[in-house]
C-alpha cells in the first residue's frame, strides 16, 4: 500500500493545518486580485495603443501654427451674432445677399471653400490676422475693407452689377463680412503665420505650363462639373451649383485667380472638389493655364488699350492677359452679361 506520489493521509484537522489553510486562502485571494490587475493592465495597454494609432496624425509643419476656426454652432446670440451670421450669409450667397454689387454668377465661397474655413483655399481666419497689409497690386496700405472692395471689383466683377461697382465705402456689407472673419479668427494671434493660409505655392514643374495639355486635363477631370464650355452647371431651379470658370459670368481680368500660379495652387489642393491633391502638379499647372487663357470680363482698371493695361497692372504676373491665343487678344473682355 505504498504509493510514492501520495501525500500524507488525511488526518483530523490540527490547528497547524487550519493555519495553513488560512494562509493559503490569503495567498489565493491576493494572487487572484493581482492576476486580475495584471490582466486589466495588459488589456488597457492594448486598448490605449489602438486608440493612439488613430489620433497620432496632426504633426505641426515648418513652425507655422495650426489653427481651427470655431464651429458654426458657437456663433454668439444677440446683435453681434446677427452681424456674424449675415456676414456668413453674404459670403455664401453673395449674389443674393449683396445682389447690387455682384456682376457675375459667383459667390465668395466658390474660391474660399467651406465658407472661408478650408485651409489652403485662402481661408478668412488667416486673412483676418494679416490685415491691414501693404499690397503691390494697388501700391498702398490696405485695410480689410479695401481688400474686400477689390474682391467685389474683380472677382465678383462689380462693374457688371446693377450698381455698376463694389459696395461703397462704409457699407454694412463690409462690416458684416468683417464681423464674420473676425469671429472665424477667434483665438488666432494677429500677424501670426497660420498653417494653411492663402493658397498653396505650387512649385514650378520642369515642363512649365501648357494650355493645350491643360485642355485634355480639363476634359478629363473638370468638365463633368464645370461643363465643356466652362460655364458651370445649375440645378433644376437654375441655381448655380458649379461656378462658371470663364466667360461673362466668371471673375474678370483683374482678379487674382487669373494668375496661373494662384489658380494652379488652388486647383492642386482643392479640385476636383472632394478629391483634392489627386491631380499631379503638372496637371494642376496645365489646367490652370487652360482656364486662365479664356476670355472673361475686362479688367475694370483698363483705361487705354489692353497692351497699356497689361504693362500697368499685369507685367509681373504669370497671366495670359494681353497675350494672343488662337488669334484672339485676351483681355478684350466679354460682352456684359444678361
Amino acid at each position: 500500500m505504498n504509493h510514492p506520489e501520495e501525500p500524507a493521509e488525511a488526518e483530523p484537522l490540527s490547528d497547524l493545518k487550519k493555519g495553513q489553510n488560512t494562509s493559503r486562502g490569503i495567498y489565493a485571494i491576493a494572487g487572484g486580485v493581482m492576476l486580475f490587475a495584471f490582466g486589466a493592465l495588459v488589456a488597457g495597454v492594448i486598448h490605449s495603443h489602438g486608440e493612439q494609432a488613430d489620433t497620432s496624425k496632426s504633426a505641426p509643419a515648418d513652425g507655422k501654427i495650426a489653427f481651427t476656426p470655431p464651429p458654426e454652432s458657437k456663433i454668439p446670440d444677440g446683435p453681434g451674432g446677427d452681424s456674424i451670421r449675415h456676414g456668413m450669409a453674404i459670403f455664401r450667397n453673395t449674389g443674393t445677399e449683396a445682389a447690387q454689387y455682384v456682376g457675375n454668377g459667383l459667390t465668395c465661397s466658390n474660391c474660399h471653400l467651406d465658407a472661408g474655413r478650408k485651409p489652403l483655399s485662402a481661408p478668412m481666419w488667416s486673412a483676418w490676422v494679416s490685415y491691414p497689409q501693404y499690397r503691390s497690386k494697388n501700391k498702398k496700405m490696405n485695410s480689410m475693407e479695401d481688400r474686400l472692395n477689390g474682391c467685389f471689383s474683380y472677382s465678383m466683377n462689380g462693374q457688371g452689377s446693377p450698381s455698376g461697382g463694389p459696395p461703397p465705402k462704409g457699407d454694412p456689407i463690409y462690416t458684416d463680412l468683417e464681423a464674420y472673419f473676425h469671429w472665424l479668427a477667434t483665438g488666432a494671434a494677429t500677424g501670426a503665420k497660420l498653417e494653411g493660409a492663402g493658397f498653396l505655392k505650387l512649385k514650378k514643374t520642369p515642363l512649365g505650363y501648357d494650355r493645350l495639355r491643360g485642355q485634355v486635363v480639363y476634359q478629363q477631370h473638370c468638365a463633368e462639373c464645370h461643363a465643356d464650355d466652362g460655364q458651370g452647371r445649375t440645378d433644376l431651379n437654375s441655381r448655380s451649383i458649379f461656378p462658371p470658370l470663364w466667360g461673362p459670368h466668371s471673375y474678370n481680368w483683374g482678379a487674382g485667380m487669373t494668375q496661373v500660379n494662384n489658380a494652379a495652387g488652388f486647383i492642386k489642393v482643392n479640385m476636383p472638389l472632394g478629391a483634392g491633391n489627386t491631380l499631379t502638379d503638372q496637371q494642376a499647372w496645365d489646367v490652370a493655364a487652360w482656364i486662365d487663357s479664356q476670355e472673361r470680363p475686362k479688367d475694370p482698371r483698363q483705361k487705354g488699350s489692353v497692351a497699356d493695361n497689361a504693362k500697368a497692372f499685369h507685367n509681373k504676373e504669370q497671366s495670359f492677359y494681353g497675350k494672343t491665343v488662337d488669334g484672339h487678344l485676351l483681355g478684350t473682355g466679354t460682352p456684359p452679361a444678361h
Partner: protein
Amino acid sequence: MLTLGLFVVISFVVSLAALAALIWAISSDQFSFSQRQARIIFEPDEEGQLDDPTISPRNGRSTHGNIEPTKFDLLRSSIDASTARPVSVLIGSAVLWLVIGSAFGLIASLKLHLPDWLDTQAWLTFGRVRTLHLTLVIYGWLSMAGIGIAMWVTPRIFQAPLQSPTLAIWGTIFWNIGLVAGVIAIACGWSDGEEWLEIPWQIDGLLAIGGALCAVPLIRTAFTRNVEHIYVSGWYYLAALCWFPALFVIANIPGIFVGAEQATVNWWFAHNVLGLWLTPLGLGAAYYFIPKIIGKPVYSYALSLLGFWALALFYSQVGIHHLIGGPVPTWVVTLSIVQSVMMFVPVIAVAINQHVVVARNMWAFRASIPLRFISLGAIMYTAASFEGSLEALRSVNTVTHFTQFTVGHAHLGAYGFTSFVFFGCLYYMLPRITGRDWPLPSLIAAHFWLVVGGFSIYFVALTIGGWLQGEAMLDATRPFSASVILLKPFLEGRSVGGALMTLGHLLFAANVIAMFARGRHPASAEGSVA
C-alpha cells in the same frame, strides 16, 4: 429592469457562492472519503505498466510480462461479461452511424463548394444532408458510443456486474428505431426546424424511452456497487445520464415556447447537449482510460471535485452565448457570456488532472495509440473550451458569430475531443469485450494519422476562413459576396480534411467489423478465467 438586473446579479452571486463553498469544502476536507476504499483493489506492483490491448505479442510489441491472474481479475472478468452484449450492440450501432454520418458530412461539405452537384433530389439538398450528418453523428455515433463506453466502465469502477443488461439492449433497439425514423423524417422534409432538435417530437419519444432504458441499468448498478467511493468517471456518468433525459424532454415538449423564447430554449438545449451530455461522457471516459492505460493515477482528487462541480455550475448557463447581439434580453446574454468565461475554472482543473499524468509519462503516449487518441482528445477538450470561452466574449463573438469559425469550433469539441476520446476507448475496450486482438492492427495507426491529419486541415481551414469571413461581414465597404468568395478555398480545404477523416472512419469500421465477425473468444465469453 431593476428586478431583471437583480436576477443576473443573484444568479452570478449564487454560482460564485457555490464555487466558494466548494473550494472551502475541498480545502478543509469536508468530503469524507477514504482513500483506502478506493484503493483496496490494487496491488503494489500494478502501477507504471502500460496496459494497451492493441499491443499484442503478435505484432511483436509487449510491454509487460505474464502476471499471474489474481482474484481481482476474476471479478473483473465477470463484470466485463455482464456488459459485453449490450456494449457490443451499442458500439456496433455507433460505428455504423459514424460511417453513414460522416459520409453525409462529406457530401454536405462538398455541396458547399459544388452547389449544383446532386441538386435534383429534395432529400439530397444541403439543408437536409447537413442535418442528417448532425443528427447521425450526435445521436447515432457520439451518444451511442458514449453510452456504450459508460456502460462498460461504470460496472468496472463500481466493481459490480451490470444490472438488467437486457433493458440496455432494448434501449439500444428503441434508440436505433427512433434514430432511423428521425433520419427518414428529416430526409423527407419533416423536421421540427430547430438546430439540434430536428427529429420530430413525435419520434423523440422513442429516443427518450431508449435513453431511459439504457440509463436504468447504470443507475441500478450504482446502487448495488461493491465499493464505497465513486470514482470521478462515475460522477460524470451519473450526472450526464440524469441531465440528458431532462434536457431532451423539456426541449422537445411542443407548443410551449414561441419565437424568441423558443430560441433561448433551443440554445439552452443545444449547448447543454455538448456541455452536460457529450462533455461528461467524454471526460468520464478520459478520466478512466488515461490512468488506466498509463497505469498511474490522475493528479488530484480535489481538482477533479472542483472540475466536476464547476462544470455543472457554469456550463449549464452558457447556452445563450449563441444569441449574442440577438433579440433576447441583455441580462441573459451577459449571464451566459460571464459563465462561459468562468468555464476556465473547471477546464483548467480537468486539464491539470489529465495532462499532467500524460506529460509525466510521455513514453506511454508514444507507445500506445489508444492513449494517443484519448490524450489528444483531452487536449482538444482544453483547447475547445478555451476557444469557446474566448468566443463568447462580445468583441470576439462579433467577428466569429454567423461564420464557419463556429463550425470549426463545434467540430473541435464534438470531433476533436469526444470522437477522439471515444476512438481510443473503443480500441481499448473491444479486445477486452471480444477476448481477441484487433484483426487488422496496421489500420489502427492509419486511422489515427488519417483523422489527425484530416481534422487538422479541417479545423485550420474553417478557423482561418471563418475569421476572414467574419471580418469581411463587419466591413460595410465590402459587399456580402466578398465573404462568400473568400471562403470558397477554405471550404474546399474542409472537404479535403473531411474526406481524410471519412476514410479513417472506414478503416476503423473495417477493423471493428472484422473483429465482431470473428465472434467472441470462447474463453472470455464464459466469463471465467479458468
